[in-house]
Assembly symmetry: C2
């Protein structure tokens, strides 16, 4: 057991820890100043696969620092200001330190005893987030591991509240087939949640969007009537705030009116955009969210936290207990008929989870709320300036005026080439150079380049450089045969 004692030695941890902090601080300094290092290292899956050992030694061998160096070199560098890719944030370094505390303590959170401090931090944070949404004392919720789990959790609550029969106990067979109304621009995890619940593909009734990719509230009555006439019971509308592809905010007031008229649950997937609630300037995008029954809000998107940190919030906090009615039978002992606020394991589909709230609680306590408000405002502002730049450029086409910090556009240099293929080739080249990381998406008009301005240190200069880099890559891409 000597090997085990050595592995748990506190002084060994101290030595490895100090070395790692220096390694990470050096890495961070390099990444933040934009290199020299590629945003995304160039190594395809097969090469990466071959470069890393596929098996493990029987006895101790190797130094953590060497493997860490390889990990740092081989990962996507989100702190590089030219990372403008997926909606995963370049986290606050302090929040990463909180995750170290979390990991070492490893309090499992399913019951209060397995995470006393973190449970209370979660409780306070949930209440604070609910108040930002305009909700009162009856609101509540829980943190869970990711937006997909969060949206599923909210839909389970909607199912139990609005199906008209006890789905948890009787199953889907206990009543008519159920469905939700969802914008065709919603994140795929909504459809996945519906199909996990056994409603099939018909459980998602698509609602068309307008030219700016927002749900058309005026199309809700037809969608509802059509589904109901086929014997489907609509229980909820799922609105996006904002949508994944283009960052479009569905019109929550009009949708809430419709839900009210038809006694439907209103769930808002605010994974990305609920953070606008912190910005005085952009709060109006969420007008009506206070009428939602449930909201999902990811701290690992626009609150600068490492994944996974998702809040599932309910205007009526007791809903989150009812979603998992199974446990409620021996738990409903609190005065209000709900479970005690500190038994959070009864409100999620998780049992053990991390001390999820710790990092956001610490960051808000240390940096204050203004940092987060400023960050949201600045990144949305930056997107508007980037859009203006694109509109003024004759060789670029803006897909849609951005409401959030997601900007889709394409390179349109003229000529009769295949525009879709051109965007893909341009992106491939930028990634091969390692100068930028951006993604692409398919919209009705074709393939567009897609950027999320989620790195707090990305600036106008970086985006001007991006357009220049695309022009160069595009010119190269248009003459592949001449070079072959």
């Amino acid at each position: 057991m000597e090997i085990l004692r050595a592995a748990f030695d506190a002084e060994s941890f101290r030595a490895h820890g100090h070395r790692l902090i220096d390694q990470l601080a050096d890495y961070l300094a390099t990444a933040l100043r934009g290199g020299p290092l590629p945003v995304l290292p160039k190594m395809d899956p097969a090469a990466q696969n071959a470069a890393l050992p596929a098996s493990f030694p029987e006895n101790p061998s190797g130094e953590p620092a060497e493997i860490f160096a390889r990990v740092l070199a081989g990962s996507n560098h989100l702190h590089h200001p030219r990372y403008v890719g997926h909606q995963v944030t370049a986290p606050l370094p302090l929040a990463a330190l909180c995750d170290l505390v979390d990991a070492l303590l490893n309090n499992g959170m399913a019951v209060y005893e397995m995470g006393p401090v973190a449970t209370v931090m979660e409780h306070h944070l949930v209440r604070w987030m609910c108040s930002r949404l305009g909700w009162g004392d009856r609101a509540g919720g829980v943190f869970t591991s990711g937006g997909s789990a969060g949206n599923l959790t909210a839909l389970l609550a909607a199912r139990q509240a609005k199906a008209g029969f006890d789905v948890w106990e009787a199953g889907n067979a206990g009543g008519p087939p159920l469905a939700v109304l969802v914008s065709e621009q919603a994140h795929y995890c909504i459809r996945r949640a519906v199909q996990i619940m056994g409603w099939g593909s018909a459980g998602v009734v698509s609602v068309p969007t307008d030219a700016r990719f927002r749900m058309r509230a005026d199309a809700l009555p037809d969608a509802w009537r059509s589904a109901e006439s086929e014997g489907r019971k609509i229980i909820a509308v799922v609105a996006s705030a904002c949508s994944t592809a283009t960052g479009s905010f569905d019109p929550l007031e009009a949708i809430a009116d419709f839900c009210h008229a038809h006694d439907l649950w209103l769930h808002v997937d605010g994974a990305h955009g609920a953070s606008a609630a912190l910005s005085d300037k952009y709060r109006p995008l969420l007008a009506g969210i206070e009428r939602a029954d449930s909201v999902v809000w990811d701290a690992h998107k626009m609150l600068l936290m490492p994944a996974l940190a998702t809040a599932v919030l309910f205007r009526e906090g007791r809903r989150s207990h009812e979603a998992f009615a199974q446990e409620a039978s021996y738990l409903f002992s609190a005065p209000d008929g709900g479970a005690p606020w500190y038994d959070i394991g009864q409100r999620t589909l998780e049992c053990t989870k991390r001390m999820i709230a710790l990092k956001l609680y610490v960051a808000l306590s240390v940096y204050g709320t203004r940092l987060f408000a400023d960050y949201v405002t600045a990144s949305f502002d930056l997107a508007k300036r980037f859009a203006a730049r694109l509109r003024q450029a004759p060789d670029f086409e803006l897909a849609v005026e951005p409401e959030a910090n997601i900007v889709c556009f394409r390179y349109t240099p003229g000529g009769d080439g295949d525009l879709d293929a051109l965007q893909q080739r341009v992106r491939d080249r930028l990634l091969a150079e390692g100068t930028f990381y951006l993604v692409q998406t398919r919209l009705p008009a074709g393939v567009f380049l897609r950027t999320t301005l989620i790195n707090a240190l990305t600036g106008d200069d970086d985006l001007a450089a991006l357009l220049e880099a695309i022009r160069v890559a595009g010119a190269d891409a248009q003459k592949p045969k001449a070079k072959g």
Copy 2:
């Protein structure tokens, strides 16, 4: 934006980081030597709630180190050798450092580009774990955030493979009501998964257990016939390896025979016990696991990792793509008809996830496999010695001979008192003193104290001291009125 730049400053991270490492190393040294600090600090939810600020300042204020000190003091101290509570491990300190790397890099993993190195580490680890289970090259799987999500993922695959109709597309209404056969000792997340899928409470058909809390394979035919005669289609048997309450291993060979005869999916919830595959001595407990269709294996239980690190493994790797057939339509481009191995986001209910495999890959590389094998063997051995001690003590009753490192027992000093209440009072007193952390469980014979010997540094002396402490607490507990 000065405040944002300051928050991202690499030198500030370095300073905070070094300070935190010393803070954690000092804490770890204290916890490992057993104090002076209580295993679980005494502070009820209301007091803890009042002790922590419920709101946040607008502007920067406060030092991380102060909050961290409060978190360290107020959490459950899993590294204390007298932590013998829930199945959450005292993690390897190096693994916690890996989580820091993970958190800072924050690679989101849904697609290869968002986590190149971590994707390959996951690929290698999955193959290594599959080979430990006795599976060949066709095996595969994915890491996900926790055992509950893992078991749900496996059951979704079982549903799609064995329902006889396309549940993903048609929903539950497309065929007969479905059900699984589950031991009455299975973890509650199995029932929860079934009810999430909309099968209702009848979707779980309980199979009785023997005197050692193992599923009675001879009871499977009756359970199967009874459910089928009521029109339920049984698609799977869920076996526990091991069970939560008592650590009992269901007889996998006999269950596999039954599944083979009836064309059922065999899912093994090996969250805790699959790690026995690494121990030459205890590998026989898992005999037959190589015939399972799917296995859930938590690295945050018996592989010394911080939560959450769950492997969902399939004997036929393609099953894990079919579970989420929705995405498969535009993904099935690989030569074998499956999705590429590196698109792991298509195999889980998650989209963004952490670089889950990093810590286990690094720990296996640095410490070698023997450390993990030795740890499993030693902790199972320790439980057997503890059981022998309990059997020899006239004032204790062992609930059942332990197969794993979970030992349930009760204090039976004689007299005609209420034994259930006595166990609860004893536990309350030990927790109030802070000398031990253990839990309790209800078995058919009544309430038992429950210990999981999961801290690698817990020794025989600690367990001898536990029995002495229980005797003292029990004597006190039996005369509450005299003290009032």
